[in-house]
Symmetry: C2
Subunit: 453 residues, 2 copies
C-alpha cells in the first residue's frame, strides 16, 4: 500500500493520463446528473418491490431485478449468493386506550420486526409510562407485572448529528421488551425513534435477550404517543388494548446480488460498494435502502460509461437481510475468507440518499491522512467531510477481516422522517441529490483504486 | 467599523461574556430545533394563505397573520409599510396539440405572471420549436409570423450550482415573449425552468420590453414539453390551441410587514433580515418564500427567547411583491433613505429552506476577510460556506444605498423541484432543515452585530 496522495501534485505531473482525475470526476458527475436509469431502478424497487422483507416475494423480485440491472449497467459477471434469512410476518394490528373517564382513543401502533404476537385476541392491560430502563428498576415488579410498559423517551432534537439523536432513543425499541419482561410486563409500546412529530410509526427490529421467550413489542407514532401520554396524565387507570397478530416462521433462503467489473491490473484485489436490498414490510424503503442499492449499481454503470477501467476488481453488492439479522453481510465476508480473497476496501451507502457531504474511513495514521487529501478533488462538488468513522453494518464483517471500511455520508438531517416507516417513498427521494451521491461514491472508489489509498 | 474578528481568540479572552458566543449559538440552535411555533407559522402561511399574489385576499391574510406572529415572537414594535402592487389574475387555461396524423394531446400549461391573455377563445396556430433567441433570428419573420413559438431549452442539469442551471434557461421565460413578438409570433410556450422531469408547470414573471404591447405567454410542464417536442418531430404541421384567459388589472396597495427589536447600544443603526411574503397564485409558496418569512420571524423570537439583546436595532421584514415587480424592497429602501436611517447590514432568505450551507456577503477586502472568520463558530453545525456573493432581490435596493447585503445559502440542489409550482407545499419542507437555517441566520446576525462586522 502506497499513500501517494500527499504528493498528488507531483504525481499528477509525472504520470500521464488520457484524462486527468479532475476530468474523470467531471465526466462521472455530468453523466450521473443527466442519465435516467437510476431513476427507473429506484422507481421499480420502490413501486414494484415495496415491502422487501427477507423471504418475501417482493424481495425475490428485487433480487431478480437488480441482477438484471447490474448486467445492464455493464458488470462483467453477476451472481447470487445464498443467504439464510429469518421469516417474520406482520398480522392484523391495532391499538386503543380505554378510559372510564375519557372514552376510547385509537392508537397508531405497529409490530416491531421479529416480535412475538399477541394472538388475535390481543392483550388488554394497565399501562406504565417510563423514559428509561432505570425507571423500570425504581418501579419494580410490583408495579409492572402483567402491565404494558410504554417507553416514551423521544429523540433528542437538539443533537446536531441526527444519528446520535436516534442512537440515544433506540435502545427502548431494541431491548425494551426484554428489559420489561424481566419485571413481568405483558407487552411493550415504544415511541417511534424519529425526529418527526407526525403520525407514522417507525418500526425496526426488537432483540430479545438470550433465553427470553419474548413479550409482544409494538411501536407507536409520535402523535399517538403524545396523545396516550396526555390521556395517562388525566387518567392513570386507563387500560390499553394491543392486537398484534404477527408471527415468526421457519428460516428460509434468499440472496445477496453481486455484480463485478474485473480489475485490469490487480484483479485479485476487491473493492466492494453496497447497500441493502431488503426493507421493512410496511414501506417502499426508498432511502433505506433502495437508494443505496441504486447508487451501487450506478457505480458500475458510471465506471463503464465513462471508460474508467478500475485496476482492482470492483463489486456492487445488494446485501440481503440487513434489517433483521444482517446475515447477508456475514455470508459475504465468510465467502471472501473461504476463497482467500483480498478485500482492499468496502463502502456502504445506508444513511439515506440526500445530498452528499463526505465520507468516513476506518483507516488511521498515514492512510487516513492520505484519504483526507482526496477532499481537494471534491471541492467543486461541495463535498468536504473526510474524517475517521464507521462504514456500515453490512460491511462490518469484512472490516473484521481487516478490510478498510468507508461510510458514505449524506446530509442526514431529514433521514429519520423516513427511516423504517411508510413515509419512506420514492417521492421522498430527490433524484438529483441521489445522483450527486452516486457520482461521489463512484469518484471516491476510482481515486482510492487509482492512488492505492 | 472595526473588523476585530481576525483576532477573535484575543477578543474572547479580553471581553467577559455572561455566555460565550459559542454558548449563545448552542442555545439558539437548541431552541430552534425544539420549539414548534415556526412549524405553526409555516403551516398557516401555506395552508391558510395559499396563492399570496399581491393584492389578493390571501396576501392580506398573510399580512395580518405575520404582523401578529411578529408581536408574539417578541418584536418591540410592528408596523405595515404601504406598497403599490400590480394586480394580475389567472383565468381559465388549457393547451392542446392537434395533429391530423396523431390526434390530440393535452398539454399541461399555465400563464406566466403579468402575461396578457388570449381571451376565452384562445389562440390556435402552427408551432415552431426553438432553443434560443438566435434560432428565432435564423428562422426569421417568414417562418414565425402568426405562429406560436415553443422555447424548449432545458435547464443544464450538469451545472453543480442549481441557480446557475436555472439562470441559463430562464431568459426564455422572462424575455421570450417580446423576442418572439418582434418577428410577429402570436404567442409563446416556454419550457418550465426546472431540473425536474415532472408534470408540474413552473410559472414566473414575463417582462415585456418597453413599448411592446405583449403577446400571450404560457409555461409548459417538462413532461408536456417532451411530449410536444416528440409530436412535432413526427408531425411538424400540427397546431396548438392555447387558452389563457388571464388579465392585468389596475394597481392596488398592499404592505411590507416589519417587526423590530430596538437596539441596546446603537439603536439608530439597523440590521434587516427578510423574506418575501407574496407567492405565485398556484402554490402554497412554502420554500418560496413562506419559509424565509418564518425564518425572519424566528430570528426575532430566538433573540428574545435566548436573552440576546442586539446592540443595533434588528428588523424582520416580510417584503411584499417580490415576484412581480419587487416594489416592496424598493419602498423599504426609499423609506430608509427618506428617514436618514443607517442600515448596517441586510440578509435575505429566498433560496428555499433546506439544510444551511453558509452565507454570501457583498463585502470586500478586510471586512470580507473578517466575515469569513465567522466560519469557526459554525463548524459544529456543518455550516462552512462563507464567501463573497449576492444578497437577494428585496434587499438589493438597500445595497444600492451602501448597506452590506448577506445571502442565506442553503443546499439548493432540490429547490427547482418546487420553485413557482404547485409542488411547493408545506409537506416539501423539512422542519428540522428549516430551523437549522433559522438558527444559523439568527446566529450570524448576533455575531455581525456583536463584533461590528
Amino acid at each position: 500500500m502506497k499513500f501517494f496522495l500527499v504528493a498528488v501534485s507531483l504525481l499528477l505531473s509525472v504520470f500521464s493520463f488520457a484524462q486527468t482525475p479532475d476530468e474523470v470526476l467531471r465526466s462521472i458527475f455530468s453523466d450521473a446528473l443527466t442519465d435516467r436509469s437510476a431513476e427507473e431502478n429506484l422507481r421499480y424497487l420502490c413501486k414494484e418491490t415495496k415491502g422487501r422483507l427477507p423471504g418475501s416475494e417482493a424481495a425475490a423480485r428485487a433480487v431478480e431485478y437488480t441482477a438484471r440491472a447490474l448486467r445492464e449497467a455493464g458488470a462483467d459477471t453477476v451472481w447470487l449468493q445464498e443467504v439464510r434469512v429469518p421469516r417474520w410476518e406482520r398480522g392484523r394490528e391495532s391499538g386503543k386506550a380505554i378510559s372510564s373517564v375519557l372514552g376510547e382513543l385509537k392508537l397508531n401502533v405497529g409490530a416491531l420486526g421479529l416480535s412475538v404476537g399477541t394472538g388475535t385476541d390481543g392483550i388488554t392491560a394497565g399501562i406504565v409510562e417510563v423514559n428509561s430502563f432505570e425507571e423500570l428498576e425504581k418501579i419494580g415488579r410490583e408495579g409492572l407485572e402483567g402491565r404494558i410498559v410504554f417507553y416514551n423517551r423521544p429523540v433528542d432534537n437538539t443533537l446536531l448529528n441526527s444519528f446520535a439523536g436516534y442512537s440515544g432513543a433506540v435502545n427502548q425499541r431494541i431491548s425494551g421488551a426484554s428489559e420489561a419482561a424481566a419485571y413481568g410486563a405483558a407487552a411493550v409500546i415504544v415511541r417511534s425513534p424519529t425526529h418527526a412529530e407526525h403520525d407514522y410509526f417507525h418500526t425496526g427490529v426488537v432483540r430479545y435477550y438470550e433465553g427470553d421467550h419474548g413479550i409482544p413489542a409494538v411501536v407507536i407514532s409520535p402523535v399517538s404517543a403524545d396523545q396516550l401520554s396526555d390521556w395517562l396524565d388525566r387518567d392513570p387507570d386507563l387500560s390499553v388494548e394491543i392486537i398484534s397478530d404477527c408471527r415468526n416462521l421457519p428460516d428460509t433462503f434468499s440472496y445477496n446480488v453481486i455484480g463485478e467489473i474485473r480489475g485490469s491490473e490487480l484483479p485479485d484485489e476487491y473493492i466492494t460498494v453496497g447497500g441493502h436490498l431488503d426493507s421493512w414490510d410496511i414501506t417502499e424503503g426508498a432511502h433505506d435502502d433502495a437508494g443505496g442499492c441504486v447508487q451501487s449499481i450506478e457505480m458500475i454503470r458510471l465506471l463503464r460509461n465513462n471508460s474508467v477501467r478500475p485496476r482492482r476488481s470492483v463489486r456492487a453488492v445488494m446485501f440481503m437481510n440487513e434489517e433483521m439479522t444482517s446475515t447477508g453481510g456475514k455470508v459475504y465476508a465468510l465467502e471472501a475468507e473461504k476463497n482467500g480473497e483480498k478485500h482492499y476496501a468496502a463502502l456502504e451507502s445506508d444513511r439515506g440518499v440526500t445530498s452528499p457531504v463526505g465520507f468516513t474511513f476506518s483507516a488511521t495514521g498515514e492512510r487516513l491522512a492520505a484519504l483526507k487529501e482526496l477532499e481537494q478533488f471534491f471541492r467543486p462538488y461541495n463535498i468536504y467531510y473526510f474524517e475517521r468513522g464507521g462504514g456500515g453494518s453490512d460491511i462490518a464483517p469484512l472490516g473484521a477481516l481487516g478490510t478498510m471500511q468507508i461510510g458514505y455520508i449524506p446530509d442526514t438531517q431529514r433521514y429519520f422522517w423516513y427511516h423504517h416507516s411508510a413515509n419512506d417513498t420514492f417521492e421522498q427521494v430527490n433524484l438529483r441529490e441521489m445522483q450527486l451521491g452516486s457520482a461521489a461514491i463512484t469518484s471516491l472508489i476510482y481515486l482510492v483504486d487509482l492512488f492505492d489509498l
